[in-house]
């Protein structure tokens, strides 16, 4: 920082011509170097290093690593737990993405109506999105307490028995999906709401002239006009869900019986609980390529939008 300040104050007029010409380049490098070095050290280096580690057998502590070639990968794709975890990741992602987007769209349509207090409602709906996943998970752990929780209290009022939620392999996954949707719903709502507000009113008027009813207007005007938002949300919420850790870690630790273990949790557990770094980095590598595929879709979308705008 100090060196930078000094560089800024150097008087340009007293410099030799070559240096004077190079000065802006030096400024550029000085300003951008910290960020580039940090990205190199903590983003790109570990990406490559993670890939390298997936060809070794290592326990995170011992000074030597054993080269095993592709063994971690063949084991990974043959292991029934790994496939189960992949399935869980898919179920969790599909459930949270579909839930967030569908309910988000419904709420956006609702808040697009000319109602009193709708901006307050918008703020309230968005609030959970800014809360930390760990704290949210702990609060919901009590809410889902099978005997003394809020949910069992409500079900009791309705005369229904409460499921065993986090103790039951069949109910643990729906539970974490519900919590995740609760936390992220406001995000989809706000994005869709912004989309709705860009739809020209004339389109609806034209549709009405053509005799389109409410449903036809929604199907043929609203939905197509919202398709950029839909695609954007599909990509961002898919990426977010596939990387979810806090809520699952706090509420279920991947259990019971691995029923909520997703790939990210598997990376964490293999590396930092079981100290099987080779297996962990194998999962991380597979996860990276899946996420890269989804991201590239987004890049293509952005390109399309740039030419459109």
């Amino acid at each position: 920082m100090l060196a930078m300040a000094v560089a800024f104050r150097t008087d340009r007029r007293t410099m030799p011509a070559v240096l004077r010409k190079a000065t802006p380049y030096i400024y550029f490098l000085v300003l951008i170097a910290p960020n580039l070095l940090l990205l190199a050290a903590f983003t790109y280096r570990p990406l490559i290093e993670n890939f390298r580690l997936s060809f070794y057998d290592w326990d995170l502590i011992s000074p030597t690593k054993r080269w095993v070639g592709l063994e971690n990968y063949t084991d990974y794709f043959r292991d029934s737990t790994s496939l189960y975890v992949m399935r869980n990741t898919l179920v969790f992602t599909a459930g949270t993405v579909a839930g967030t987007m569908l309910i988000g769209l419904a709420l956006a349509l609702l808040l697009n109506l000319r109602l009193r207090g709708r901006s307050v409602a918008r703020t309230v709906l968005f609030a959970p999105y800014v809360l930390g996943g760990a704290a949210v998970g702990i609060v919901w752990l009590f809410i889902f307490d099978p005997r003394f929780g809020l949910v069992s209290g409500i079900l009791d009022r309705l005369g229904l028995p409460s499921p065993n939620w986090y103790n039951d392999p069949n109910w643990a996954m729906p539970m974490v999906i519900i919590v995740y949707i609760w936390k992220n719903l406001g995000y989809a709502t706000v994005v869709y709401l912004a989309g709705l507000q860009t739809i020209p009113r004339d389109l609806y008027e034209a549709a009405q002239v053509d005799g389109a009813g409410r449903w036809a207007q929604f199907r043929h005007v609203t939905l197509p006009m919202l398709s950029p938002m839909t695609f954007f949300l599909l990509v961002t919420t898919t990426l977010g869900s596939m990387q979810a850790f806090d809520i699952i870690s706090v509420m279920t630790s991947g259990g019971p019986l691995d029923s909520t273990k997703t790939m990210v949790y598997q990376v964490y557990e293999e590396a930092f609980v079981r100290f099987r770094v080779g297996d962990a980095s194998t999962v991380a590598t597979v996860l990276f390529f899946i996420l890269l595929g989804v991201t590239l879709l987004q890049v293509r979308l952005l390109e399309r939008r740039v030419t459109y705008g």
Binding site: Y25, N50, L115, V130, L131, W182, T198
Partner: protein, 294 residues
């Protein structure tokens, strides 16, 4: 971004006023739906608040009580002392403020260089920075942990802060903003002999205040909430941040003292909720930017 939002309001295309609801019945139905939706979002938070002052006996009676009979504020004191909560608060404040400050400085300087300074293949450098967005943090945790451990940074502030000090999205955000500034003003200042630091401090930053605030807020919110990395690099209470400390509280008090755990959760959640309510426009805009063209 600002520009886009303003132009939406300006054109006749704008739907911002909302769709009119005709008919009394549909009006009632619409309001009912809004109330239900808001209720579902708020109820868990109210449950947390009421439980945080319930006595142990009240929590463990059936049917569940909806409103505390007596307010047991003692839960808060108990949460504060059962685990070193004060320490967690300080740690969160230190790592969030320094971490966000570093992100901000990095983002602003990177964007300034990319927009106002010449360099060969500048766009390629921009691409290298932006491509970092495609590398999910979770994929890098193992090598980053190994590096931090080798540096002897486990259980230190720098261990928590430094790996998160690089910034890709913020640099992108600031670059977009700087590109929108009128070039003539900066040219004029240069001709008047102003140095880069002065231009940045006296012209560029004051003109970019809203975006800067947005950037700062989303950085603060995400650092405050961060869980996985602080969980990995801290191993005792001296450096644990609030989210990690809260899980400690839950492990120690467990399901036998939900009131105390909820009191702890309130103390973690309320600060960020207040920041959100105070600056919600900026935060919503920042977190959802990228969705609307701009």
């Amino acid at each position: 971004m600002q520009e886009t939002i303003r132009s939406h309001h300006g054109t006749r295309a704008a739907h911002a006023a909302g769709v009119r609801v005709s008919g009394r019945l549909s009006r009632v139905a619409a309001y009912a739906a809004v109330i239900v939706a808001v209720g579902i979002i708020v109820l868990p938070l109210i449950w947390m608040l009421t439980a945080s002052v319930k006595t142990r006996q009240e929590i463990y009676t059936l049917p569940v009580s909806w409103w505390p009979e007596t307010f047991r504020w003692e839960n808060y004191r108990q949460a504060w002392t059962a685990v070193p909560f004060e320490r967690f608060f300080i740690n969160s404040l230190v790592t969030t403020s320094i971490g966000s400050a570093l992100e901000l400085v990095n983002g602003v300087l990177t964007a300034y260089a990319l927009v106002f300074l010449p360099f060969p293949k500048k766009n390629l450098i921009f691409l290298v920075i932006i491509a970092a967005l495609m590398v999910p943090f979770q994929v890098t945790i193992i090598p980053n942990y190994v590096l931090v451990a080798d540096l002897g940074w486990v259980n230190t502030y720098q261990g928590i802060i430094i790996p998160g000090a690089a910034v890709a999205f913020g640099a992108f955000l600031m670059r977009q903003q700087f590109l929108s500034l009128p070039r003539e003003i900066i040219e004029a200042a240069r001709i008047d002999g102003a140095g880069h630091l002065r231009i940045l401090w006296q012209i560029v930053l004051p003109m970019s205040r809203p975006v800067l605030v947005t950037f700062a807020l989303i950085s603060i919110v995400s650092k405050w909430n961060e869980y996985l990395w602080p969980l990995l690099v801290t191993n005792d209470a001296t450096r644990m941040t609030l989210p990690v400390g809260l899980t400690q509280l839950q492990h120690s008090e467990g399901s036998s003292e939900w009131g105390v755990v909820m009191a702890g959760a309130v103390m973690v959640i309320i600060p960020i909720l207040l920041v959100f309510l105070w600056a919600q426009r900026h935060i919503v805009e920042g977190l959802t930017s990228g969705s609307v063209k701009g």
